[in-house]
Symmetry: C2
DNA sequence: TTGTTTTTTTACCACTTGGTAAATACACGA
DNA sequence: TCGTGTATTTACCAAGTGGTAAAAAAACAA
């Protein structure tokens, strides 16, 4: 009702916007915001530069759109951590989901890392309004689990930081890992290692 | 002998080169390579752009110089891990040194993270020639410690990755941590947390 | 088919940016 | 003080970049 008279996007619009965002994700995640040129995105998307600006008002809007989409994906695994489940099971499952995400969505992980590295100039508000409340809620949940003697007592905030850092490392520092563990198989032991680490730390 | 007739750099040269590198470290670590302009570096250094190009042949040379300096600093804590010491003590001390480095040299940590994130375009060779041999050597050392029953058996490569990721996280993702743990004190529990984590995991 | 709307291309432009040439100012030993 | 090499500034430039205007092409409804 109060929303303007927006017409539903055509098939072409849907397809091209999707192409552009996919191409932009490739480029932004590899070169960062400043390192990304519209020409690069245009090439990658198979469109001309002015044509891209027909679908998005500018470079910034493309970047912001990606960041908004990313936020949902990013929070999802943590949201799923269930207060009703078994604490150790829930936590290990969360670690696994985060590791799977680093493996399946390395571009998204690097896009996020780039943004935070540069001081979250475009994502700062999202962190405050979306991530912070969720973070506080889940820290409190973990705290109760520890009070109940279901988990060993450690600082839940640093626990979450360590889950994020260890899992995302496999996406963000892939170039380094490629040098140090060349021609490794798909299943390279990270899953088992992280499982052991968090199990040993959190077993009461 | 075979080295050319290089004159010793004057006091002014020493001072200005140092100023430039310090300014460049600020800018590169915050904005990445492409995001850094010579004008930004010049302003930060309090010199004019052409004056900067009097001391360095170009933007690339400044960046490479920083990266070379960084490599030494970066490898140092791992080099210090001593085969003759007590395994658990040595490992925990290494964790502590890395955490101190993230705290004391966040700019260097972010410079490194930026470079790796973008695929190590300028540092790749250094990783192969300097980091890889050291990494293999220390992995083998940790392996023997585990064989001797001094440490619980885990994959030493992933162990080192987890030390790197958890410690550097406090520098590289500082913008996020500032949101999630606002106005925290200097000593915020990270030291204690990491000590607990690695102790619990590695106690045989 | 035809008229209308949507999509794409062509040709630009203003600004930024890495870098250069040459003139000028400065430091310093004799 | 003067002369010489060092350091710095001024005035540029060519390439790259984000973005625009308007014409051309394609899609589509009638």
């Amino acid at each position: 009702m109060t929303t303007g008279p927006e017409k539903k996007p055509s098939r072409i619009q849907l397809r091209n916007r999707h192409r552009i965002l996919d191409a932009a994700l490739n480029v932004f995640s590899q070169h960062g915001y400043r390192g990304t040129t519209l020409d690069l995105v245009a090439n990658e998307a198979g469109l001309s530069k002015p044509n891209i600006l027909y679908y998005f008002s500018g470079k910034e809007e493309i970047h912001v759109t990606l960041l908004n989409q990313l936020m949902e994906t990013w929070l999802d695994p943590l949201i799923e951590m269930d207060a009703a489940g078994d604490p150790m099971t829930e936590l290990l499952a969360y670690v696994q989901r985060k590791l799977d995400m680093a493996r399946d969505l390395p571009r998204e992980s690097r896009l996020f890392a780039n943004e935070i590295l540069q001081g979250a100039p475009r994502m700062g508000p999202h962190l405050v309004s979306d991530l912070k409340p969720l973070f506080d809620e889940k820290c409190a949940l973990i705290e109760t689990w520890m009070q109940d003697g279901k988990l060993a007592k450690v600082d839940p905030r640093h626990l979450i930081f360590s889950i994020w850092s260890t899992t995302q490392h496999y996406a963000d520092f892939e170039a380094q890992i490629d040098v140090l563990m060349p021609k490794r198989p798909k299943e390279d032991g990270a899953t088992e290692y992280l499982r052991t680490m968090f199990t040993n730390m959190l077993t009461p």
